[in-house]
Every structure is written in C-alpha cells, then in structure tokens.
Homo-oligomer: 552 residues x 2
Amino acid sequence: MPHLLFEKHKPLLAQALVAIRKRGYWSPYAESIKAYGDDAIEEGRSAFEAYRDAQFYLDQPGVIERGGSEISPYGLSLNISYPKCGPDALIVAAKAAMMAWIKAGPDTRAGVCVEMLSRLNAHSLEMAHAVMHTTGQSLSTAFLAAGPQAQERGLEAVAYAYREMKQVPETALWEKPRERHPPLRLEKIYTIVPRGVALVLGCSTFPTWNAYPGFFASLVTGNPVLIKPHPSVILPLALTVAVARQTLKEAGFDPNLVALLVDDSDAPVAREVATHPDIRVVDYTGGPVFGLWLEENARQAKVFTEKAGVNCVIVDSTDDYPGLLKNLVLSLSLYSGQMCTTPQAIFVSRDGVKTKSETIPLDQFERDLSRALNTFLDDTPRALEILGAIQSPTTLARIEASRELGEVICESRALRHPQFPEARIQTPLLLKVDVADIPAYGEERFGPIGFVVEAETTLESLSVAERIMHEQGALNLLVHSTSGPIWQLAEEISLRVGVALSFNLTDGVYINQAASFSDYHATGANPAANACLIDSAFVASRFFVVQSRHPA
Amino acid sequence: MPHLLFEKHKPLLAQALVAIRKRGYWSPYAESIKAYGDDAIEEGRSAFEAYRDAQFYLDQPGVIERGGSEISPYGLSLNISYPKCGPDALIVAAKAAMMAWIKAGPDTRAGVCVEMLSRLNAHSLEMAHAVMHTTGQSLSTAFLAAGPQAQERGLEAVAYAYREMKQVPETALWEKPRERHPPLRLEKIYTIVPRGVALVLGCSTFPTWNAYPGFFASLVTGNPVLIKPHPSVILPLALTVAVARQTLKEAGFDPNLVALLVDDSDAPVAREVATHPDIRVVDYTGGPVFGLWLEENARQAKVFTEKAGVNCVIVDSTDDYPGLLKNLVLSLSLYSGQMCTTPQAIFVSRDGVKTKSETIPLDQFERDLSRALNTFLDDTPRALEILGAIQSPTTLARIEASRELGEVICESRALRHPQFPEARIQTPLLLKVDVADIPAYGEERFGPIGFVVEAETTLESLSVAERIMHEQGALNLLVHSTSGPIWQLAEEISLRVGVALSFNLTDGVYINQAASFSDYHATGANPAANACLIDSAFVASRFFVVQSRHPA
C-alpha cells in the first residue's frame, strides 16, 4: 500500500521537483471553485454545518476531556467539541510510531504525504467554510488560501524535503585501492533519521497555509507531528489531522504519527509543550513576542518562526498612477490587513509622485489614495468579499487606539453584512505621519491600519525604511519607481536587509501574495522570520543522516 | 579573472558533485607524498623552518601588536610572531568586503574557493611540518590529515554548498494565465545572500581538517570569515589565511573576506567575538564545555559544534580474532588517542569473545589486547610514527590521573624520540572496569586512555552503551559480531542514538577514520556534535534567498 501511494503520486512529485527548480508559475491544485463541482460550495457548507453543535471525532490516545469554544468572526457560535489529550500521552504514542515511519524511507513517506494533500484537496470547500468561520476570511479568500494554495505550499515542502533526502544515497560501495594489497572495500548504508517529535503551532489567520509547510516538511522527513491550533481557530487543523490520520491508517502506519493538541486561551499549553525535552522541532507562525519567546526558550528544539514586521512601500514615481492607487488599495484592504504581508508604511516624499506627465503633490497623493480606497469599498458586496471579517476583537480595539498615532486621512468604517449582522467588518484606517514619527508607524500594527509616511526625499524614504526593516523585520518591500538609480538602491537595500522586493505592482499581482513554487515567503534574514517558506534550510535540519558500514 | 577560476576548476567541481551523490571512494588530492616531488619533505621542512624565529606576514587591518608563542610538542620553540588585530577592525573590514563577494555569485565564489584549495594542496608538505610541530602528529599523519584529506573536506563543503546554491535559479519568469485577460507576468531574480560575518574557532589537534568544512562552507556561500586558531596551534591556519587572502586578491576581491584573529591563552577572545552582534555564523571544534557555552550564548549566530563523546566498541564475536586485536590496537594508538573518533569504552561480556573455533574468556581477551598493544608499540620507529606526540601537557596529566579509574591492564609508557629528546610521547593506558562503573569510563577522557568494560552479556553491553552515547554523545560505535540479531540490535541503536556504526573492522579501515565524500562525520543527532561534516543542513542555513520581482 505505501509503495502504491508512491507510485500513484510519482508523476505529481516529479512535476513538483521541476517546479521548485524552475520557480515559474505552477498550480497543481485547481484554483477555480467550479473545478470542484457545480454544488461544491453548498456541499462544503453542509459538511461544515455537520460539524457544528457536535463532537469532532478523533481516535487519539490520552483523552482527558473535551473542549473548544470557537466563535465565528461572522457571529456564529460553532459549538464544536474536540478531544483534549494530554501532551505526554500524544508524545509517547508519537515516539512509539516513529521507527516504522523511519524505516519506510523517503519514497513511501512522500507518497503518503502527497496522498494526504490530494485528500485535503477534495475537502477544499468544506475547509473554506471552516476557515471562513474561524478566521473571518471571505469564502473565496478562504477557499484559495486554505484550500489549493495551502495544499501547494504543503506539496512544495514535500518536494524540498524529498529532494534533500534523495540527495543522500541509500547505499554506497567504498573501494580504496592499495599498493600490493587488494583494495579495501566497505559497504555503507545511509539512513534518514528524523530529529524527533515535531510541534506545529497554528495561527489564527491562515491556519493551513502557514502550518502546512512545517507540518509536511517534518512529517515527510520522518518526524511525528503534534499540531496545536490557535484556540480560536481549531476546526481547519482538526480537519487536517483527521485526514492525515486516516491516510496513515489506510497506508498501514500508526495514525499517532499525527495528532491534534487542543488547548484553551485561558489554559494555554504551548509554552510547556514547546519546551518539552522530547519536542525536537517547533514551527510557529504568529505574533513576534511569542515567536521570540520560543526562539529563546525552546532550546531543545529546532525552532522555525514566521513572526511579523513592518512592510514598507516606497512611492517615488510611476508610469501608471491609477494602477498604483488601485493596487495599493487592494493590498491594504485584502482580508482587512490581517496578513503578515500587508503593507503598513507607505513612504512618499514632499517632492510628490512623478508620473509620466506631471508630478502629483504629496497632499494630492494622500487625497487620491483615500478617495480610491473609499470608492473601492463603497461597493459593499465587493468590500465584504475583499475585507472579510476581523478575526479578533483585539484587532478592532487596535484600530480604535491607532487613530491617535497620526492624522486620519481615511476613516475606518464598520460595514454590515446582510447575512451575518453580527460580523466584525471594518474598512482600513489610513493615517499620515512625519518620517520622524517612527514610534507611530515603525512597529507592527496588525490589522487594517496603514500610514502614509511623509519624507523629504525618496532617498530618505529608502534609508529610514531600511533601518526599520533591519530592526523590526519585514516580509516585503514594494518600490514604485521609474528611476534606474532608485531600483539599484532598492536592490542593495533588499540584499542588506534580506527582504523580498517588488517593483511597480500595478496590475493583478499584490505585494501581499506569495505564489507557491515561485515566491520565497520570508527569508529568515531579518527579524520578521527566522526561516523561509520554503528553502533548503527550512527542510534540511529536520533530519540527520546515520550511516552503517561493514567490510564488503 | 574570477570567471577564469570557475572555468579552470569546473571539471573538479563537477567530479565533486558526483562524489557527494555517490559517496564511494574519491580522493582528488594525492595522498602519497611521492606525488608532491622527490624532495617534497625537505622542501616542506625548509619552508616551515623559514617561518621560525620570524614575523609571519599578513597584511591585515587593525594591527594592535604582535603575538604568538607556539611550542612544538616535539620540544622546538617556534618563536613565530603574528599580527594581532582588533576583532572590530576585522569585522568592519569584512563587512565592507561582503557586497562585491555576494554579487560575484556562486560560480565565481566556488572557483575562487577551489583555487584556494588547489594552492593549499601545493603547500601540503609545508603544512605537514607546521601541523607536526603544533599538534604533535607524526609527519606522515600530519601530511595526510592536514594536507590532502583536509583539502578534500574543504572541497566537499564547497560542493555541498554549491549544489544547494545552484538549486536556486538565478531568474524565473512567472506567468499566470487569466480568463479574458492577458496573463500576469513577473520577472523574478533570486540572489544568494550570506548570513553575515562567520567565525571559525580552530582546534589544537586537527586544525585544518576540522576548520576547512566550516570555513569553505561559509566563504563559498558569501560570508566573510574570521579564523581564530587555538593559541597553541596558530601556524597551520595562518598559512591557510595567507593563501586564501592571496587568492582573493589575485582574483580581484578584497582579501579582508578572510582574516586571522590571533589571541593568547591568557587573554582569550573567543567568547567576546563569538557573541559579537555582527558575527552570524560560528564553527567550533573542541571540548564539550566550551562548545555548549557557545550553543547557549552565541544566540545571534548559527552555531555549528563538533564536541566529543564516548565512542564505544562492542566485542561480541568475530571471524578474525587476530585482525580484531590488530585493528583495535591501531585505533587506540593512532595519534595517541587525541582524536574525537578514538574508541574509549570497549565492552566485552563475561561470556568472552566467540571466535570461529573457540570462545576466548574475558580475562584472556584483556591479556591478548594488552599484549597486542605492547607488541605493536615495541617497534619504536613504528610507535613514534603512529603515536606522534601529546599536544597538551593537560593530556599527560589526564593519563596520570586516569590510572585510578580502574585496574591497569596495560601501562602507559613514555617513549624517547631519537631526534626530539624533549618530545612528549606516551603509549596508551588501558584499564579494565566493571560495567556499573559508568563514572569512570562513561565520560570523555581525551587522550590515550582506553577502558575494557566488563558486562554480563552483549545485550547489557549494547544497552549501557546506548545510554552513555545518548547522554554523553558519540561519534561512532564499532560492533564486532557474527550474529545477525546483534547486528539488527546495533542498527536500531545507531538509528535511535544517531551515531555512525561500523561492523567488524579487522583490516586496514579504522573506526577513527572518516573518509571524505563517503563517511558522514558526526550526525548532529547526539550530544557529541550539533552538526554533521558534511550534510545539507551544514551548508543550507549559511545563506538566505532574497528575491526581487517586477512586471515583465
């Protein structure tokens, strides 16, 4: 059976291996809902509804009680109860399951992992509803980000790890010639051995997109994985664990190689489990404070963190001013700025924005941007589709508190969802500040909060942005410029800070988006993240090579 | 010029890339002294003598004073004075040199690094004398280990890092089809960006073999490197730095990409420099106490350590009893046990050692092993050749102190070197202890100190050895057995502990030896080392990938 799964998925894996080498566009899982059937949305909704007011079934060891109290940002109470298991019981069971998984080898493990992804793909619409009603994303955003795009990140992780593992030969014959003696001959066997039990700490905004790289990278390299979802966003990862366990079981492996660890926000277990001596890998996405805590404290483990930073935009000059505004407006609005990739600080100089025909004065740019934002969001159905809802009440409070950080140039408004009257929906707040006011705009303000930062010159914009990204971290830098020297300066800054750079996005690509198999999400080089999703370093230290040799 | 170096060394690099994938025998640098010319030894000696009683020339910035007080374990005072430079000046210069090195790209950097290795190869005999008169190795051991074999480890590191870097395409065209619109098209550029300034902390026994992997892995991935030799073993790494700087200069790069940092044992700088905020990678080989300190404290850097452990031998049964004894005797004697790979605890059960025709009782095995050791070392020229001299007086004192740890079954004797009457030469001390006496044999006793550990059964030997290796770490486990079930048990232990396993070495391969391009030296999986020399994880986290994208 395991071998069959490898044979079944070999062609896809081969394509994935080509894709990570070419890094062009490749999207193996359909990104159009239509591809999932005419009734896919309704079927997904029914499947989701069936979980509500019910017990989520997971046959895990060490169940102590049941828990979970998710409330949809759209106002629904999910009332799903999950088994809560003792971490020690899950770790013991995971360790017991490990040796057979090691011995299965990279091919079999990769086959099983791709099978999981393929089954998760079939659940994409069910997942979309689950993610919508936990993270607040609109259904279409949730479908894409938590369905095919998350699965693609998972497949990318499998491909990276598989490539690294397969670069180690399984056996070798070492034959050293000698003078006047027959050669020395040794047969050698090389085995991929995992680091140990891995822990994935899920986040509240992109529970699958952010968890799948670490989850699949650890699992395919032989590490059992405990997944601890954010207590307010459990269902998407519970679905994932259920599919993974079922796949393992059918493939003849112990399902305890993957387990769900549920906790409550008033009794969190992440610190205790992350520092457990048997936890050897930790993957985390979320706020910088806890990310740093993990890096400092989970010393027994390899810790991979994706935290957050201050993403900067430099507006210098453009060939397409309307396109620039439109692109920026969508970037600021997408999922209400609840993305680690949302731009926060938009630097513009007092010289204004040079376009092909004229120079737009700074204050006019500010008016234009605000107007474009308002116009875009005045279309309520579109606004609801793009904004989604605010995941956490803390973010709502942050919008309110941020009003004092500068001069409001575009007010944040609450919108009413016709179907979900209690949904927390809020348009972005846009402020203007002076470049000197770094305390206001120079630290992460998670949510729909943007700043136009007024600098003297584009050079000042670049140099201040560099300092902030170096100190606070950033996942991306967007530069709008038609000037060669500015491009060169921006490129040098991007190399020095270790931040992904985009120029002149005015069409349908947004700075927030990172395409699987093509964009490296984060670099690991600045404080926003200590790892990249996904590069070789992200996978290579999850396993060791252990050799055995004997005379041939 | 840089491009020419890449072209020049492309064939060798291509062979190296094949070798790391096949992991059979491959030795690109000649391992026979004859290949270096008829007068190679004498020429090497003259070159070495020219350094004595003189100032070592290095054109480095920030020279504060001159220092260095190496004394040969063979009794010569070297009286070489090196420039001592302020770490900050070297770091500033290194950082200034970095951008051009980044922009040169992987091909050029690899060409320059392989050129360095090729020039170091030409200095192999000079290096052999330098290593002999700092580490105490005999000339032939020093030649092999510090010359071709160290260069091979360096080339292996270049090949691993080069492969990882080249798996990242330099550019990509991302083209996403859209309905009713032309495709979205982005051009993407991916740049390999180093972590930052790297520090290599040299050791006192294998200064080049242990330093080259980290040095070349860091340098080829774009990191400038400061090399801080052990204060008693400076010359080998000073020679290395001189060759590296000259190569860089001739290739058109700033020589400050590589610098020598000299300190004194009474004013060590390693702690301060290793925790300097601008040091982003640390490679260390040496004692476990300082290795652990680095792992705990150099938090701003990626730290790679090769420390030490308790290497175990399990003697159960054999088809070749004389071969077993002979092999073990040489393993215990080689460079007087001053190798991190020297076996320390030889477990034998009270059931004795089963051979083809009989069972050798335990006490007879102990007598046989002692006799074989004495016989082997009674041939003084051979003994001097194999043992070399004791690098540090501390090791001499440790031999003395270890006598009380068990019952001496083979005394350690001082030998007199006809040419160097003051040389510290000492044969191995062999003790017998009970398996329960873990405090005696269960921690590392660096130097020519071995234990025969008496256990009840081979199963007990294996289980106690597993516990010790798990807790103290080990670089290797040698098992002598003709029993299938024992092989299986040993294999499972090796996977659980993450230790390299060898079976039945009775001919010309010794447990101490790790062959470049074939054997993985250490695994990173147990406390003996947190990294492997050399695997993907050893190179992959030395660099980041930074991308830039713009509409096509």
